[in-house]
Symmetry: C3
């Protein structure tokens, strides 16, 4: 992949100072720039020191940072957005064997779109359809009666169960599971958790556990990304739905009947309990947990490891376990830091009062 | 799937008011009822509003809720149990190709029971046996010398290692791993963690890490369910065991030598450290963690995200990280909420004492 | 596997009291010793009670414990290290079909070393190389242009993406994913998280989310172990690196551009955010979380479930969420336990002051 510096500046919308004809072969971190065909991208002031060495000849950076000894410079306003554009220009898409691999098993009732690539050991079940331009790299399974939209990319080991709907331009990373059964059980008599909810104590026992079969499905809308190892359970009766443009990181648990809105960002290892609901554009930090039936509002920001225990209003900023509004959390931290001072103050107050009491005892009585 | 309303009422043990001959094709959430062959299931009062529209013609619901404009009603005592029964009646089992798929690789010394279904790309290693009526959907691997009981269902991508024993009627969701090696290592000299335990500080270093091979195995008893992506490590010397009827959700870590009792419910993303032990009928909430060698007693209820640091007695209700009895946790929350008042009170007390001191200073000395 | 007791004592460096010619067939926990060919390993005083029954005839144990009724005893200093040695002697390596299985798909440009075992349904992409003596058990995928060093063991369902480098003697457990794309996105305008960072509130919105393609790769150095279901994302521009000898447990998230040093121990379900960095010999407890761009120093010990919010210095011992030095955490716990006493003391002080005020009011004024 080779691009001229002028062409790059145009593509990213930056201002070039220097020679537009320089040929760039790699985009690198400033620490790794080695020769005249490397283009270093400076995302923050932390990387500035590398610009002094003279190793960095071509650089993309924001206007408020000194270019050091760089010869050619593209000045940009939002370097992280420029990173995204550069990664389009220099993309290295995953290797996919074109066409249908001889080892793939495709049910004779399945429907394949134009220009699909179905790699080694992929299995497509009966009546499922794979849209135009889809790429299934290898070892992918798609059950019966499922639909995969066009231009979707399924990495090795992805599992898609029966009756699921996957949108267009969806990317699913390796070993993710779409459409496992929900974790839904019931005890014939009220069980221990119900007892705790009512009485605060365990007074009844889970002597028998009855399975609730999941007959629902999963809908993943267009432009969604699902991370490696992430599991999205099917609905019990209805659907589990992930809204258009939302991005899920690795090893996330999405319970049955969950609804995630559009353009959400869900970081790795988050757990979303059954029937929980997330609005549009919400951001949920890594390892946070949302219990069954609770909701996160539009544009809310949930910090990493938060343990949600109540509905989260839209635009709320939430932190801690149990989770609180960030303002309350920070206030509590301030008071917690005062605890040693409190302890000391109380001791001193006791001493002063004892002293006063002694003095007052010695006073003459009101005559 | 079609059932008459009278037949459904009998099967779920409910009382029918209305026409028993109505033919039902779908069970749905009240919000999704559309026509005369839909049966709406009302689990709680939240769904009542949908009964007023007239869209819901047939309904299953508890006695304490108004039926709105529904025409035919089945009244039941425990609607969630009825949901389980309805999902038996209207079950949609996963698609499985009958028989042995031509692409399956089955060692010539493996033993297959009657009426097994072994789907595309399944691999069964030497001397392993698959019980009567088992279904291996696709891409399943079973190593050497393992036993799978009858009527067990293994979803795509399930990995079963060597020498494991899987019971009857077990369900394992996609990409779960049974029988990975335990995470067991030792430093020749006492390492950093031992140093912290003894001195509170890091005074020794993990210069060399020696592997402890796992030569044990995993036993999964009858009627267990294992969620998608869940990993159950093999014992070091002996076994890791999951007791009869226990249900594990997705993405759970079960360390080596763990013992889980019967009829437990373990929610997604829980971590169970090596040699930890869980009694019968315990419930462990999502993302909770149990360190090595600790125990959870029978019927204990552990809240989501709890970080256990001590043995949990039977029937205990545990919450927080570090985990405490729920009563203590709630009490601490009350005191934490009083912190601002404490701070203010201490300030006010200081002021009052200073005032008193000034007054007392002005008093005449004892004559 | 049969070994004479004398031979075992020599191999583990222990002192034998008893008959060196006894033939041992199994190493067991003392509770499971049944006959004269069983060797019981006592790791701690907890197991002593089993030595009284007479079932344990041969025992390995530390010098400070009574041997009970055992006939033959090997006395050792560090029994856990001896466990490692015994598990080498009695190892039961995973079953692997020798040679290249007929069902494997190996690109004609791939290079296979001597004595490799490539099991059923493995796929090796173009220009990738598999080193001498490697074992790929089954269902493994290796993308294009990757390198796997010699004597590496890849369990079933392991996914290795394009351009990754895996060292020698590496062990990767089932369904682990190496080289998934990083979770890297950007909003064209500053998004909600940036707004929270600057103002504490959500004042801007993630209306559009732009993908940042990952064009980097993963380097896993020699002697590393990766647990089942663990996901290691590729670098955005450069590499994600796991240092020589480090051991990762199951279901861990390793974000893009992460660097892990040498000989680290990372316990199950830990989450390491993008561009985070861990030094050498660090130990990170289960379910702990390290956000983007933070670092953990050499030899640091991070407790389970810790939620790191700042750089962790070398040799630090860290606990809690938000994480603190262990000393501070324990001190805070002490003060938190005093809260009820504080509350009571403040009430009592108020009472005493009111009493004093009343008394002082009654005093005669200074004449």
């Amino acid at each position: 992949m080779m691009r001229k510096l002028g062409e790059i500046a145009d593509f990213v919308g930056g201002e070039l100072t220097g020679d537009p004809s320089v040929v760039i072969q790699r985009v690198v971190h400033p620490a790794l720039a080695r020769n005249a065909s490397d283009l270093a991208l400076v995302l923050s002031g932390n990387a500035v020191s590398f610009l002094k060495s003279g190793q960095v000849q071509n650089v993309v950076m924001p206007p408020d940072i000194e270019g050091g000894r760089a010869v050619n410079r593209i000045t940009v306003d939002r370097p992280r957005l420029v990173l995204a554009k550069l990664m389009q220009l220099f993309e290295r898409p995953p290797f996919v064997e074109p066409g249908i691999h001889h080892s793939a098993v495709i049910d004779r009732t399945a429907i394949l779109g134009a220009e699909v690539a179905i790699g080694p050991y992929c299995w497509i079940g009966p009546r499922s359809s794979i849209g135009n331009g889809c790429r299934l790299i290898a070892h992918v399974s798609v059950g019966a009666d499922s639909i995969v939209g066009s231009s979707t990319l399924l990495h090795p080991g992805v599992r898609i169960g029966d009756r699921c709907e996957i949108g267009c331009r969806v990317i699913i990373q390796p070993n993710a599971v779409i459409g496992g059964d929900g974790f839904a059980f019931v005890t014939p008599e009220p069980g221990s958790v119900e007892s705790v909810r009512l009485t605060g104590e365990v007074r009844s026992f889970n002597r028998e556990i009855v399975r609730i079969n999941s007959i629902g499905h999963v809908v993943i809308e267009d432009d969604v990304e699902i991370g490696a190892g992430t599991c999205v359970d099917r609905g019990t009766l209805g659907e589990t739905r992930i809204g258009q443009g939302s991005k899920l990181d690795n090893l996330i648990q999405v319970g049955h009947n969950v609804t995630i809105g559009k353009n959400c960002l869900i970081v790795a290892q988050v757990g979303l309990g059954g029937s929980s609901k997330i609005g549009d554009r919400a951001v949920v930090g890594g390892q946070a947990g949302l219990p069954d039936h609770l909701t996160i509002g539009d544009d809310a920001v949930v910090h990493a490891q938060a343990g949600i225990t109540n509905h989260v209003p839209q635009r709320a900023v939430i932190i801690g376990s149990p989770a609180q509004p960030k303002r309350d959390f920070l206030e509590r931290e301030i008071y917690l830091k005062r605890l040693p001072a409190h302890s000391k103050a109380i001791k001193e107050l006791k001493r002063q009062i004892a002293e006063l009491q002694a003095k007052v005892e010695q006073m003459p009585p009101d005559p």
